[in-house]
Symmetry: C2
Subunit: 256 residues, 2 copies
Amino acid sequence: STRIFTVANQKGGVGKTTTTVNIAAAMAMGGLRVLVIDLDPQGNASTALGVEHRDSAGVYEVLMGSAQMSEVVQKVAGFPVLDCVSSNTSLANAEINLVSMVARELQLKEAIDSISVNYDYVFIDCPPSLGLLTINAFAASKELLIPIQTEYYALEGLSQLLETYGVVKKRLNPTLILSTIVLTMFDSRTRLSNDVAANVRSHFPNELIDIPIPRAVRVSEAPSYNQTVMTYDPLSPGAIAYMQVAREIAERGKAK
Amino acid sequence: STRIFTVANQKGGVGKTTTTVNIAAAMAMGGLRVLVIDLDPQGNASTALGVEHRDSAGVYEVLMGSAQMSEVVQKVAGFPVLDCVSSNTSLANAEINLVSMVARELQLKEAIDSISVNYDYVFIDCPPSLGLLTINAFAASKELLIPIQTEYYALEGLSQLLETYGVVKKRLNPTLILSTIVLTMFDSRTRLSNDVAANVRSHFPNELIDIPIPRAVRVSEAPSYNQTVMTYDPLSPGAIAYMQVAREIAERGKAK
Ligand SMILES: Nc1ncnc2c1ncn2[C@@H]1O[C@H](COP(=O)(O)OP(=O)(O)OP(=O)(O)O)[C@@H](O)[C@H]1O
Ligand SMILES: Nc1ncnc2c1ncn2[C@@H]1O[C@H](COP(=O)(O)OP(=O)(O)OP(=O)(O)O)[C@@H](O)[C@H]1O
Ligand SMILES: [Mg+2]
Ligand SMILES: [Mg+2]
């Protein structure tokens, strides 16, 4: 059955988008059918996947009920099955509009459930907050993937994130599991990176995929060519690490 | 009169907090009276300044009207006059609570106006979003400082940020000026960093302070010691660059 991941962390700039698009691309290159949902008003995932997103209907229209998910899915060029539901700037207004809706936390879940049968994997890229958009993603997913940047501030916000996960799991979605943690922008030369990695390793031994994604400029160059690093520079250290992490995620899924 | 800055950029992880605390510290070391307001529920600025923030009343209580700003100001150790109004995790609920309040965008302004006379500079560190907390900061400020990370995604969100600035300036705060842009995490060895810097230089020649803050591990280590880099390693490249940027901001203020 379809694995549905939320990729979330309210700390900004920790690699949520980069992890979403590169793992999605790696899975798609392996022949799996993959959908990416861009739930961030900045639309960075849509950019990295090269889909038009400023002027077309996307996930905002789906949340507001003015479009069906199947109508706004776009194909990502160059992959057998990699699709994207893009975000546009209206999404910035979604949270205020959602506040007064009935079943406001479940809008995304209903939409995803209508099309998830077409995919092996769904990844939802979240904005850097624990507001109603991220809650919608939690309520719609079966698994939670947390990217953790190997920097000091990245640890500070974890307890709030885990608290929100706990509340959603208890009240909205008991099937949600924190299954995966990925270390990002790892610099093996610095004590800080190694300290944070050791800290995560000891607190989350089962969830952590202990293949840190290295800080690598090719990873951050790729979106300026509307690509993921998987196609921009597939033999680079960043691409290889994301490929290995994607393989490990797929393996763990089989074991279930 | 008091200069009041909002430090904002909805893109996550671009150096909002790091720029806020280090410029504030640099100004305070120069004998200016400085206040930092931590408007981010993550409380990273409070951490970097070494003030207790998990269990004490802070800016949330002020926004909700259950405390006066003067009651929640904390002194930052080691400086003549550097104060901080901290954030705590309740702040994550502020936006939903603010939605239904009368004059919801002006709660922070009224609070800051009650104490700003005691300071030469006020800096408000914003969360990575353009929601009601950031709008409150825009409405309360006279100047906007935008940190721009020299990475591709950092340029994508600028138009939304400038749009929000324009709307607030027109409807809530005509005195607000985008006065300052600072380049962060600059790596002179990469084409990407140099391209982004050149792009910002050509679009914002007057606002940009053309002293890029280098990517430097001492900057990101400092918060793990509850310090800013200004006291953690004052002769390091990051601290020197922030000192120069602070001096330039102060000079530009005099010229007015
Ligand atoms: N392994 C890496 N090596 C180098 N740069 C990276 C790496 N991973 C991400 N980056 C860069 O770091 C920045 C932050 O990453 P990204 O935008 O994916 O984080 P995010 O958590 O999605 O941010 P936001 O909180 O704004 O949504 C981007 O400019 C990205 O290109
Ligand atoms: N010049 C620098 N050199 C190295 N690391 C830096 C530099 N500036 C900031 N950092 C690190 O980059 C990360 C992001 O910076 P910071 O937290 O200040 O950004 P932010 O915009 O406040 O993030 P958020 O959107 O979550 O509020 C932090 O781990 C910080 O320590
Ligand atoms: Mg993102
Ligand atoms: Mg911050």
